[in-house]
């Protein structure tokens, strides 16, 4: 009975041994560097190869980290960044390439172009000797096929909405095997800048599915990599959902370096998929990735502290192209049941330019920058930020922080506090208040909104700040128009060309947020903007386009349709062993010239890892 012998610890030991085994087994491998071969190029260099004045060493891999899985490898179908980051540039290129660092369009698959006197006919000359990654010749037929697909109204995509002027979609015409012409119904000034956004896709692979109407399911993420034939510096090697997407050198790429050696330098360009921002940061600091883009603003000091030890640098890219701004709903319309979108007395306020100017005067932008951004930004009054080399306009009318001026304007409108509750009232006795929304996923914007509400409260305008989930917000903004004010941001297009912003500035535009899809311009200012936008789109000379857009920005500033808030700074982290990178504020901030980038394996910090 008392003979409680010791319990056999067999099971326990087994588990412990099992776990230990797992750990040791694992620790033994993983770090092994695969053997690297020196660079040999089995294929002839194309006759018309583009020579870049750079030097580097072949080999190595660059590990990029991305938050989402690519959804497709079919270029015309890709419409969100987790797919386009991989497709646009690394895998597929267009007739022209955009130079992010200099903010200008460079030659791409097309080596030259001409335009007729009236601006209605462009002729593009392809480089001779171009080949797809499977060795098949790339010529004008591929361009014609790409145009047919990109402009197909049956297939979704933004290309068709951009590639038109004078109400007509541009017409492509094959002249010979290396020459393609584009005919326009009306001039479109920045055509060359814009046409590069059309991916050239292989006719020999995709024409048949297109004819059979199976194009939309082609080149999904479960496609055998070898099937995906590319013309960019890389081709697909492997995709593991939720883990990584590995690109390998395209052996037929058409760019060479100073010594005439074929680019890209890298053997592999890896997109590591990491869904969590903290894990992303840890992976970068542990040396598993080469880039963190961007660094969340409040983590910049943390990264800077660790930079030397971690063998990386924090790069200050300067002011971003993206903007944060708020607007009051100036839509005077009614819903199908006859209920006004905005209460009439509020609508009268929102549509009064004095009220909008008073709002701008009441917002302490410097305060937001100090308290929320820790100084990493500047006040914003212009639709296009300082980062835009062509379009930034210093002379936009500004209504900066000045509570006295805000108070004076509100008093002048007859808005005074009539019942002593600290909130101004209209002459009819209704309180001057509105509800401000932003998307709840964006922490910075939530902080902006809180500060703005406080600032406006100080001049007697009560703001109820209610962040909403993104889809809810977009539904209110785009389909039911039932909201009073929204704080949002706008990312920039690449290229950051004003002619691409028609939908924002034109009074009938869908993203003309404060009063979208107007039948005829609501105010004289908007009428003038419409006219200027037409002139801008037709104008071929960038300097003249700037003149038109300067005026548009001045009207925007003077009329305060939107209140621009801040222009943030942008930071990325990059390992010290990355060479030839030319970081820019335009996406892709660092990897836009990935064909030129190489990794210096001799760097001490790499050896240590």
């Amino acid at each position: 009975m008392r003979k409680r012998r010791r319990l056999s610890p067999g099971a326990l030991a087994l588990v412990a041994v099992g776990l230990g085994l797992v750990a040791t087994l694992g620790a033994g491998c993983g770090r092994k560097e695969s053997a690297r071969l020196s660079f040999t190029d089995p294929n002839p260099i194309p006759a018309g190869a583009l020579k870049r004045e750079i030097e580097g060493r072949h080999g190595g891999r660059f590990v990029f980290v991305t938050i989402g899985d690519p959804k497709t490898f079919n270029p015309p179908l890709a419409n969100e960044t987790s797919s386009t980051d991989i497709i646009n540039g690394p895998l597929f290129v267009g007739l022209f390439e955009y130079n992010n660092a200099e903010q200008k369009t460079d030659p791409g698959l097309a080596e030259s172009w001409t335009v007729s006197e009236d601006g209605l006919r462009y002729t593009f000359k392809l480089r001779p000797g171009l080949r797809w990654s499977d060795g098949v010749t790339l010529d004008a037929d591929d361009v014609m096929f790409s145009a047919k697909v990109s402009l197909d109204p049956e297939l979704p995509g933004a290309t068709r909405d951009i590639f038109q002027s004078g109400g007509k979609v541009w017409e492509f015409e094959k002249i010979d095997s290396l020459t393609v012409a584009v005919n326009l119904a009306a001039p479109f000034g920045p055509l060359v800048d814009v046409i590069g956004s059309m991916y050239i896709i292989p006719e020999h692979k995709l024409a048949e599915p297109y004819a059979n109407k199976t194009f939309a399911s082609m080149w999904g993420v479960d496609t055998t990599p070898a099937e995906i034939v590319t013309n960019g510096p890389f081709m697909l090697k492997e995709f593991r959902p939720g883990e990584k997407c590995v690109l390998a050198r395209n052996p037929h790429y058409w760019q060479v370096d100073k010594k005439g050696l074929r680019l890209p330098y890298l053997d592999e360009f890896v997109f590591l998929i990491v869904k969590d921002l903290n894990t992303m940061a840890l992976k970068f600091q542990a040396g598993e990735t080469d880039l963190i883009d961007p660094i969340v603003l409040d983590q910049v000091p943390l990264f800077e502290d660790e930079a030397e030890k971690g063998g990386y640098q924090v790069i200050d890219l300067g002011l971003d192209l993206a903007t944060d701004f708020m607007w009051l709903n100036q839509n005077p319309g009614r819903d199908p049941k006859g209920v006004p979108y905005v209460e009439p007395y509020k609508s009268r306020l929102f549509r009064d330019v004095r009220f909008r100017r008073a709002i701008s005067h009441a917002i302490n932008r410097e305060g937001i920058i100090k308290s929320v951004l820790q100084g990493r930004g500047v006040p914003l009054y212009e639709p296009y930020t300082r980062a835009n080399k062509l379009y930034f306009n210093e002379n936009v009318p500004k209504f900066p922080y000045d509570p006295a001026k805000a108070t004076a304007l509100l008093d002048e409108m007859g808005l005074v506090d009539r019942n002593g509750d600290g909130v101004r009232d209209t002459p009819e006795g209704k309180p001057v208040e509105f509800t401000l929304h932003t998307n709840s996923e964006n922490n910075l914007r939530k902080s902006f909104g809180t500060v703005i509400s406080e600032d406006l409260g100080k001049v007697g305008v009560r703001v109820n700040f209610v962040p909403l989930e993104f889809n809810t917000l977009i539904t209110r903004l785009r389909s039911d128009y039932r909201y009073e004010a929204i704080l949002l941001g706008l990312a920039s297009s690449t290229p950051p060309e004003a002619a691409l912003s028609g939908n924002v500035y034109r009074s009938n535009g869908i993203t003309h947020n404060w009063y979208p899809r107007q039948d005829k311009p609501d105010t004289p200012g908007e009428a003038e903007i419409d006219k200027l936008m037409n002139q801008l789109i037709a104008e071929r000379e960038p300097a003249q386009r700037k003149v038109y857009f300067d005026r548009i920005q001045e009207i925007m500033g003077d009329q305060q349709y939107c209140q621009y808030i801040v222009n943030r700074k942008l930071f990325v982290g990059m390992r010290n062993h990355v060479r030839n990178a030319r970081p820019s504020v335009i996406r892709q901030h660092v990897t836009w010239n990935i064909q030129e980038i190489w990794v210096d394996k001799a760097d001490a910090k790499v050896a240590a890892r």
Binding site: M1, R4, R5, L7, S8, A11, L12, V15, G18, L19, V22, A23, L25, G26, A27, G28, C29, G30, K32, E33, S34, V63, G68, K71, T72, N74, P153, P156, G157, A158, D161, I162, G220, V221, E238, R240, P241, G242, E243, V246, V270, I273, V274, K275, N278, T279, L282, K283, A286, E288, F470, N471, T472, I474, T475, R478, L490, I510, T511, R517
Partner: protein, 322 residues
């Protein structure tokens, strides 16, 4: 037994109907749809978006959409196509499901492999220092939030370099021999399995301890000891076998909760499983992909319980279904 199994499998049908109906309704009630995100892009016109909405059938009333979906499932076993991937949903789900199963099963091994021996040890050596240490660890395991534990482990991995910082395979995985490939996955699996397994481990251990303590007080155990049986035989053959029954019932349930509970761990520790896929699909309102995941999760729950019932019948000859 066979009729019982068949009956159980048939009850799956009304259950799945109910679950999918609710899921469909909830997604429909959520504001916006898959195309709302595209509407924010100034370069896409309203007409293009309307055309896509018609193409995807999102302009139909929800009951028509649900009816169509059901019809395709029943008559063609076609669960629809993901809007985002433009692929049949099970093409998208299959590789992820495998990964989630690997993680869930490993976590179950960690949880049960530790919980049962530790629970037995605790009960047999009640109030000893070993019991107290095990109990302390159990309370710690029960009270630590999974997301915090996961982040802590990732931080540890980043600082020490003993383990990879998240993920399932290293970048050189494909150049390794198959043996080393398995080792590579196991190396990546250790931390997520520990994090995911800790909470059920702690719970099950407390249960095992309590059950065994109850059983050890019963008369037949005293009898067994009185007739001079070896203590190992008393504990392992007589006491544990009876004490473990409730845990077997829980096993199936735990398996199912491990599958759904792995979502947080998968996202934080970058495990390429079903969780991160489903979350993304939900946020983007990729309707049929969400429905596919819901069907899988519900099926797993039912199957887990079924497995538990079968195991119970095997372990306890008194239990019969028929």
């Amino acid at each position: 037994m066979r009729t019982y199994l068949l009956r159980r499998i048939f009850t799956l049908i009304p259950l799945l109907l109910g679950v999918t109906f609710l899921a469909f309704l909830l997604i429909y009630l959520a504001p916006g749809d898959f195309l709302s995100q595209m509407a924010e892009n100034p370069q896409i016109s309203a007409e293009t978006i309307e055309a896509m909405r018609t193409k995807f059938g999102l302009d139909q009333p929800w009951y028509v959409q649900y009816g169509l979906w059901l019809k395709n499932v029943f008559f063609h076993l076609d669960f629809g196509e993901s809007f985002a991937f433009r692929q049949p949903v099970f093409h998208v789900i299959a590789p992820r499901l495998g990964n989630t199963l690997i993680l869930a099963l490993s976590a179950a091994v960690v949880a049960w492999g530790l919980a049962i021996p530790l629970g037995i040890l605790s009960a047999v050596k009640q109030y000893s220092w070993r019991d107290k240490t095990a109990s302390f660890l159990a309370f710690l395991g029960l009270s630590i939030p999974e997301i915090f534990f996961a982040l802590l482990m990732m931080y540890m991995a980043a600082k020490t370099g003993w383990f990879p910082v998240g993920g399932m395979r290293s970048l050189d995985h494909d150049q390794l021999q198959w043996g080393a490939q398995i080792g590579d996955i196991l190396h990546h699996l250790v931390l997520p399995a520990i994090v995911l397994g800790t909470v059920p481990m702690a719970g099950r251990m407390r249960q095992m301890r309590a059950n065994l303590l109850d059983v050890l007080r019963l008369d037949y155990v005293t009898t067994a000891r009185a007739k001079g049986l070896d203590e190992n035989v008393v504990i392992w053959k007589h006491a544990v076998r009876n004490a473990i029954n409730p845990l077997i019932t829980l096993f199936g349930f735990t398996l199912a909760t491990l599958l759904s509970g792995s979502f947080i761990v998968e996202i934080v520790m970058n495990w390429p499983g079903l969780g991160s896929l489903t979350l993304e699909a939900l946020l983007k309102q990729d309707l049929y992909l969400v429905m596919g995941s819901v069907v899988i999760a519900a099926t797993m729950l039912v199957l887990g319980n079924l497995i538990a019932d079968v195991l119970l019948a095997l372990a306890d000859p008194r239990i019969k279904y028929d």
